[in-house]
Amino acid sequence: MNKLTLWFHKLGSPEYFYRFAGRWAPWAGWSFALLTVIGLYLGMFKAPPDYQQGESYRIIFIHVPSAWMSMFIYVAMSAAGFVGLVWRIKVAEIMAMASAPIGAAFTLVTLVTGAFWGKPMWGAYWVWDARLTSELILLFIYLGIIGLYQAIEDRRTAARAASLLALVGLVNIPIIHFSVEWWTTLHQGSTVNLMGESSMHPSMLWPLLIMAVATKLYYVMNVLQRARNMILELESNKSWAKTVLQPAEASR
């Protein structure tokens, strides 16, 4: 086996994963803080006002990265859930379930910041257009996954059931992404493209991209932090868990 595959196998061990997460979560957290300061400084002080939307467009620097995260986390959660379902890997199940509340949080931020951008620009906090509606459905799917996970007593059965629900809900992700092309929406189309040119000036694009990386680091930090708690709870009867929490007493 090559080194990367070997490392992946090691990560499947709850004890190894617990230590790994404890080591890397703070790094991700501090990088998030640093990038947020840089990104928002550039966005708030360096980027010029928009020629149509004035200063109100500055909501973009949190709204768009949050919207990207709401979908990114959903895909990551589904992937982890799929691995958990197929190979019955405990750590994968936990990563999927630890992702759900973070995804729900970013979806909520997307909806609220979008509403507070829509009010001055469109004249309404909310309109039932395809982009907004499909994003609202995403929030309900996240809440459904969290609810299902909480409702079943056995933690592993619960994780598998909720992962299955996540995979079914995956169909909503392309709908959100293409909603602005498939339907006529009040919500504007995309201005940032991975492939091809982005129709946005670098002075506005850079803070946006920095915030996109920052929010990903927040996710990494938060998911590791949550997964650590869940692993500790699930493995509380194992001797390694006791060693981790009370190093002095474990030997007695």
């Binding site: 200063e55 109100s56 500790l232």
Partner: protein, 59 residues
Amino acid sequence: MNWSEFWNMGGYGFYVWFSYGTFFLVLGLGLIMPMLKRRSLETELREQWAVTKRRKRES
């Protein structure tokens, strides 16, 4: 640009700052909640282990 102009955001201050407030409030809560959970979990597990240990000694 002076500070009052900055906070005013060209008349959009309320919308901009409410949005930023939501962003940091939600992310902040998302950070603090697992920290609190961690603390209560530590106490809970230590107590649980102490009880099992006491039971073992008594039997």
